[in-house]
Symmetry: C2
Subunit: 717 residues, 2 copies
């Protein structure tokens, strides 16, 4: 992480804009990768010197070839390596010795081919690090920068100059995006095929692109992140200035981490990505098509001031389809002002629709479109505009396109997108629109998806502008908590006993039900006397997670006699149903008045660390899965509030059907304290408070049952 | 509905294949609709005689023109009317007099322009009916049939001959579909612009297309249905043989019927369409794009035997993206048999992936694709196949396309679709695939959407094959129920009193809690004595719906003294909080043992009649909205079972977390009885059983609280 700091741009400067480049493994033979790279370098307009390295050739593609890097007459910033895997190690060593700073290792045969390759990759990385170099790849397509310009890749094509930085973990997706971009005329600033990400990762390139004056939007295809913490930190910061749109593949792996505990069962690794992207303001594209559509929107459009969409159409059906899409994608149909409606009524034919969607009807020409658009754009109640056109008879759609482009220029702060239906018949008009900065889609729904992406990002930016207090508690007692954990570690236990759980909770200021552990019936009675009746008795055993299922719990015990009898019953039940379970004792708990049953849980994601869960507790957790998630790392108060507010449990807490409101502040406070606890103690693998009782406003909360599991190893991320 | 019977084909024969056609309002002037229609008729290859009708012309487009229909020398089956709205009435009258059987009224200016137009439309329909004619329109684009052939429309183009019957309520969507179909080379059997649907509706054309040997799939764009009952009956029957795919616009109107009662609030009109489509086996396309993609799939592919998809790809990223889509769209990744994996391992390079998705890697040529495809297709564990290709270097995608087409022919029972990424570079290959019957999509996700549409339809077909018993109860007491309703009608009440509700329920065999209505405290005590203690007291007033909210209910009364006191408290509370509420009495109910709280509700949809709702009851109805819906009309047992099984309440009923299973059969029986009741009495506008207690298996159910509201009018649909 230390290497992905604010100096990322200057640090990667020599990668994207090297003064001299060596192509190691350059080849005369067409079809060879080493040939394609050299050809691409030559064709890109690169202004520095290119040195083909090939011991068997005098010259390649008109350039003098050198037998080895050491024979090159000047320092080389970047070496692009396309030799066979077996030869890479020697080449890298040589690069290091002559002072090359950056490597693009195209060669495959590393991590992706199994164990042997992984070993080779580790050795490669060690060599790169030893010489203080940085490396893209191995197993990648290479990189391109249209502003340098440089094409250090074997891709079949070079993107148009533009403002999208694109990173891809798949060479095939790189190729597909490149082909598509050339077809629709969309430009890129950078194009990076990440390959195996042995050294440089998405984090380095996202950070670099954010600092780059040319890149207005960062588009990524990824299958995983290398370092979740660094990724989050980076996109959180970058996202406030530059939109980051990611297609994350592998979502069907969701549930792979389906784990043993309640909490774990609800948390899967795709969920962690979802939560991480949401918290960090990353726009997640659901499909390749959406990735493309969002790219078009972000490079050409301003951010809308709000969610209100105005539609101008020349036909009813597509207008209704677009209206459906507006609501389905979280936007709103603008309500046109009275002045706008009156102006439209005066200027449009009587059978037109003067309300949103504004239907200029089938025979509308460019002038009528322009008239309607001018009034809709001028309406202060309209944040963005969608122009729909179905190929009209006898009207030239190109003229309509030109009118839209011209009128749009007067409102640089309002996004305008179009959907022209009619295939080949509107192709030229679509090109006019695109050239004029109005992306034109083939379907209304995709145009609305593009607008909704802009609005989602605007909401994220706004969210970030509001003051967010980081969650912090000066009153936590870290030593006591550490001691409880150390005690379990000494006993080589990973499941904490209930008194240890209670000690941890109390140390972090979470109220827990008063209780004590009894080893015998008399002790239980003495504890009950001390706590006050009624009490509950619960078996305590590291082997037993669901105590209620077999009679390990007795509630509402009103007298010494009740306690005595319950003690024996529980012991008997436990011995009958779970004869091998070790009974640590019977917990005697004060019976609490019933509150709203909530759950607070924590599981750990391998990439993003502790994942905090909140929702309705008790037996309903698994039935309704009314839960929300946030990453605990760096969490702020507004996120805790939001995670409570987005559950249905919130309706209960606010005072459902005439009941008094519950102590929501205490619930949020508890979430913050639990988050702090698991952030402070990375060795806590799982934590589960279920139920947490929430009482009426001012009466606080109480944790009734707490389970804490430590990681098997003493330290875990 | 009488006119939409099995004779629909022969009945509409003269519309799609008329012996002679008159174009009334035919014009010499280019750009005029009457010109376009005549030109389209001439250009379509129509084999009958065409008579242009125009009193001011001698000849148009080389055809002799006639001053009026009465001057035409032979009988005319079909008249296409494109005269101004004011002249239509006279023309229609003349058509009727000379024995025209079918009208296509292109002319606009009817219902769509407001009240005046609606009156004109009613008069038009009356004239059509009076003369025993049938009419398409008014306000439509016309119709086309590629097999007749005939083009009685003013559309700009004529579709290719094919097997899709397309109906559209929007002329613009017609035009868009036509343009798109010509671009991708997809053919149609019929193309019908429905217009205002004054006489002939979607129902007539769906029925007609189903009987037509040329139409393999029926594609519709609709904004509403004219007759929900006829629509359902038709698509239910048609759908078992011919897939019906509908894009229903106007879903954002959902919630427009947000009504006063619980039940109504959960039921909106788009919900009714959703439920109706699902029950009738209609495939609902969510977007225009999906409508297109499903059309391609259904016209070219067989139905898969199951949900298991095999993928052959030459790159990892798109393979993963497709895998995600497979799971997201309700399909499953096939698990390849050991033989298949071994064969692939032998024949593919070592770095290939021999499991699904099968990755033939970047340098795969047509032979390697063919090899992999042949083994994947042959695997009995694979139901359908997706071929992915990302433009490879040095390989001709056209050859790969040809290999896929050839190999696919050996497996006519397995759908094969493709997604070739690479824009223009794979355009020719995509055309080869399409021509060979393999639809090729530009994105993996769309290809998967197409496969999932086929699988959804196959599931519907299977569902229909299973024996489904219609819901019927010989034991219901219709007279008693009718008397309870009549009694409320006599009092001019639409809200039934609790004893009337109980009578209705009992008459239909739904167990209700034993109770009686007390007018005074002594009567309450006497009733309680008769029922046995404990009892509950509840205020009965037509003005009070949520009794618990202000103290109108007292539960668990153990003695005469309790009953006496509760009676006065309830009366006092009612008078204090709702001084204007009329108290009909206090209901004394036997306290029932608690069961699982369920809700059974009914609301009425204007199109589809009673909408049955089932879910978790009590206070959770609105919180969790854990409810399922079915149309009550023609409901069968398997649908009742499914509507219970799809709720989360079902998990509770089956015996959640160690509890005993509840009497699911009695719950399903109750749903059937409620459905029968509301089917028998169309005057029941709303019905709400909440809670319905479900007891342990064999112990049945009990309705604790029943609300029934009648329609304001004596009869309602």
């Amino acid at each position: 992480m230390a290497q992905s700091n604010a100096s990322a741009r200057s640090e990667l400067q020599g990668l994207f804009a090297p003064r001299a480049v060596a192509v190691i493994g350059a080849s005369r033979q067409e079809g060879k990768i080493g040939h394609s790279i050299l050809k691409n370098m030559l064709g890109s307009g690169y202004r520095g010197t290119i040195y083909p390295i090939n011991p068997r050739e005098e010259a390649i593609l008109g350039l003098r070839a050198y037998p080895s890097l050491s024979k090159v007459p000047e320092p080389v910033d970047l070496a692009v390596i396309a030799v066979p895997a077996a030869a890479v190690a020697g080449v890298v060593e040589e690069c290091g010795l002559v002072g090359v700073r950056y490597l693009v290792v195209i060669t495959a045969g590393y991590k992706e081919v199994g164990h042997e390759g992984l070993v080779r990759e580790k050795e490669l990385l060690a060599a790169v690090r030893r010489h203080g170099m940085r490396m893209l790849g191995p197993n990648c397509l290479g990189l391109m920068d249209t502003h340098t310009p440089i094409n250090a890749s074997f891709a079949a094509g070079f993107p148009l100059k533009g403002e999208i930085a694109f990173l891809s973990q798949s060479g095939a997706v790189c190729a597909a995006i490149l082909d598509w971009s050339l077809q629709v005329g969309l430009g890129f600033s950078k194009f990076v095929s990440l390959g195996n990400k042995a050294d440089l990762t998405e984090v380095d390139f996202i950070r670099n692109a954010a600092l780059d004056a040319y890149s207005k939007v960062i588009l990524c295809y990824i299958e995983d992140v290398v370092d979740g913490e660094a990724f989050l930190e980076t996109v959180r910061e970058v996202g406030t200035k530059t939109p980051v749109v990611i297609l994350k593949a592998g979502s069907s792996q969701a549930g792979a981490r389906a784990a043993s505990s309640h909490t774990g069962a609800l948390a899967g690794s795709d969920l962690a990505y979802e939560v991480a992207f949401d918290q960090a303001g990353v726009l997640r594209a659901r499909t390749m098509e959406e990735l493309f559509d969002l790219a078009m929107a972000f490079t050409t459009q301003p951010l809308p001031a709000g969610d209100r969409v105005g539609i101008v159409t020349n036909s009813g059906g597509p207008g209704i389809i677009a209206t459906d899409a507006v609501e389905a994608r979280g936007l709103r149909m603008a309500e046109l002002g009275r002045e706008t409606v009156e102006a439209l009524r005066k200027g449009l034919p009587p059978t037109a629709s003067f309300y949103n969607p504004v239907d200029v009807i089938g025979d509308a020409d460019d002038k009528r479109y322009d008239f309607a658009l001018s009034h809709v754009l001028a309406d202060p109640g309209v944040d963005s505009v969608l122009c729909l056109l179905t190929r009209p008879a006898g009207i030239d759609p190109v003229l309509v396109a030109r009118a839209i482009v011209a009128r749009r220029r007067e409102y640089p702060d309002k996004p305008v997108v179009a959907a022209f239906l009619g295939g080949e018949n509107v192709a030229e008009a679509a090109r006019e629109l695109a050239a004029g900065g109005v992306p034109c889609f083939s379907f209304p729904e995709r145009a609305v998806t593009a607008l909704s992406g802009l609005a989602r990002y605007r909401r994220f930016r706004e969210r970030d502008d509001t003051a967010t207090r980081p969650v912090a508690f000066p009153d936590v007692d870290r030593e006591t908590a550490a001691e409880a954990i150390a005690s379990a570690r000494r006993d080589r236990r990973v499941v904490l006993l209930s008194d240890e759980c209670a000690a941890l909770m109390r140390a972090y200021g979470v109220p827990v039900v008063p209780s004590g552990l009894a080893r015998g019936p008399e002790e239980a009675v003495a504890l009950a006397d001390g706590l006050g009746y009624p009490v509950a008795l619960k078996v305590v055993s590291p082997q037993i997670l669901h105590k209620t299922d077999f009679g390990g719990v007795r509630l509402g015990l009103e007298s010494r006699k009740d306690v005595m009898r319950a003690f024996f019953e529980i012991v008997e039940n436990t011995q009958r149903y779970l004869p091998h379970a070790a009974i640590h004792g019977i917990e005697v708990q004060k019976m609490m008045a019933p509150g709203i049953e909530l759950i607070v849980g924590v599981s750990r994601d391998i990439h993003f660390g502790p994942l905090l869960m909140f929702g309705l507790g008790g037996i309903y957790v698994n039935l309704f899965r009314d839960v929300s998630f946030r990453l605990a790392r760096g969490i702020v108060w507004s996120e805790l509030e939001a995670m409570v507010a987005q559950t249905r449990a919130y309706a209960l807490l606010k005072g459902y059907r005439g009941r008094r409101p519950a102590d929501v502040d205490a619930v949020i406070d508890t979430l913050g304290r639990v988050a702090t606890l698991v952030n402070d103690f990375p060795e806590i693998a799982e934590l589960d408070v279920n139920p947490l009782f929430a009482y009426e406003r001012g009466e606080g909360v109480c944790a009734l049952d707490v389970k804490i599991t430590l990681s098997e190893n003493a330290r875990q991320k």
